[in-house]
Symmetry: C2
């Protein structure tokens, strides 16, 4: 059997199934959440996450070096954000084609540095490698007070489902680029310079109001499925409540709009659940949109023509 | 200017020069040692290191999946070992060609798992990516008591230079393979299944006898240059003291033998310095060979026909 015959989620389950699990320091191990969580004593948990990005899949030709550097850090910070963690440092292993212009490479480093600094941290280490295809593997370390860690697994039936920011902006950029349609800078920036929700994640964690959280960079639908699985619940969301900016609604219609908002991914927003009696506490932390509720089982979306099941389709590498 | 016009060390200095350095938790930052070192309170420092390996450069066709997995973990553990640290966990981001056989891939995972377990740790996270060339980026986390951290920068004139294990075994395997000469299993294993010196590193650190240490996976000569630069000293080593197994001496002669032992790299041994009055304390920690002494400046090797400068040449990606 070839790797390509399995999808990414099945493959990751396959891997984690054959690993020796959870040493004495491991609170959350491989495959179970956005970050691994370690208890090394003290008041905080240590969180760590890694993401491999590469030219063909993750960095469209239109991206500048600076944006490549920014995104390579941001994608890792977004995983920390989803656990309510404060960043501690970034490592970046860079595989770079030897005929890369030094100026372009310098822009990558500046983008990395700026993104890390923007969220109160810095690049503390890395590796350099000569590689045919530009490949950036980042690792982010973070800390979160043991009382404040938010896992994927805490959602309860009756909780309210929320999301930060807007949905479908990055997806719209991707879809429009694929069709060679000129894309506005604002829309393009959502795809090329995603803002990891570090500040929102930390603020939400401090409210003690959030029962589960994850980032939605693989798309809303796939993330709902991941969260549902981890928490043993279901979700019902409402299409007309999904936050979408006017520019995206102008550029995309019908199925294409739905695809961008629900499936395509690329928005680095936080999806989280809050018990109804704590929603006001959460509102004090940051702005967000209520998009649905936690139900016993199944994942559904209410659309203008009725309720339909929402498939777990989104950004997958295989 | 193209990336290929700079060598790896110059490029890394170039990068670290343009990064915002050393946040409040950073004890040792990017480019300054085998690992980044963070102070997050408590009795221990947190160490973290990352290494990107890929098929063409790092995994000869003869390597099994299991050996690829083993090496990808071992190369990161070796960096922890050189600072005297105890491993806390491994993350592995894997870029894998979609037409890879699942059996081969499973062997990679088993090799990773076995190597981690052999040194008291485990794979706690990672990432999967579809990639044209098999690419493995590992990250290792470790802890070391603040009193026991050994840096590259502590060597003093008059210290004795020591190395664990044997030199040139992995180099011999590489050279023989390139010449299509049949290679003994013992020699091949040194290259394909390197043993990170975790136990030796921890034991040496506990003696308080070691003033500087690093791993020599990039070769003895380049590592001596790195250590000299970090400590602001020089080295004189003796060719006839370099530990080389008989099998290697039988297979390689003259310049080729010298190349394998001093320049080629691939041996995951520890190079370290000890003040003369503490050498017996160090001997209690593990077995090693004295190969020279720390001098004021310059890096020299004494050979049968006299003393000559030792160039800083070794394994570099650019």
């Amino acid at each position: 059997m070839k790797i390509r015959e399995l999808n990414e989620r099945v493959l990751i389950e396959h891997i984690t199934g054959s690993l020796t699990r959870n040493g004495k320091n491991t609170v959350v191990g491989a495959g179970d959440d956005d970050c691994a969580v370690l208890d090394i004593g003290g008041d905080d948990y240590l969180l760590v996450t890694t993401d491999m990005l590469h030219r063909k899949t993750d960095f469209p030709q239109q991206m500048s070096g600076w944006q490549i550097g920014w995104m390579s850090v941001a994608v890792n910070l977004s995983d920390l954000a989803s656990k309510g963690a404060k960043p501690l440092g970034i490592l970046m292993a860079i595989g770079v084609p030897p005929d890369t212009e030094l100026d372009f490479f310098d822009d990558i480093i500046k983008g990395m540095d700026t993104c890390a600094r923007s969220f109160g941290t810095q690049v503390i280490g890395g590796d350099m490698d000569s590689h045919e295809e530009l490949t950036m593997t980042g690792t982010a370390l973070g800390l979160v007070n043991k009382d404040l860690l938010i896992r994927r697994s805490g959602a309860n039936t009756g909780d309210i489902v929320c999301v930060t920011g807007n949905l479908g902006t990055a997806g719209a950029a991707l879809i429009l680029m694929q069709k060679n349609i000129n894309v506005d800078q604002e829309i393009l920036k959502a795809l090329f310079e995603p803002i990891p929700r570090i500040n929102e994640g930390i603020a939400l964690a401090k409210t003690h109001a959030v029962t589960s959280m994850m980032d939605i960079s693989d798309g809303l639908a796939l993330s709902l499925h991941d969260l549902a699985k981890a928490s043993g619940v279901g979700f019902k969301i409402y299409e007309d409540k999904l936050p979408v900016i006017m520019d995206v609604k102008k550029k995309l219609k019908g199925d294409e709009l739905f695809e961008a908002v629900v499936f395509t991914g690329g928005d680095f927003e936080l999806l989280f659940t809050v018990p109804p009696d704590k929603i006001n506490k959460a509102r004090n932390a940051c702005s967000f949109t209520v998009i649905g509720e936690v139900i016993k089982e199944g994942i559904f979306i209410e659309r203008s023509n009725g309720i339909e099941p929402l498939k777990g389709r989104g950004f997958e590498h295989f």
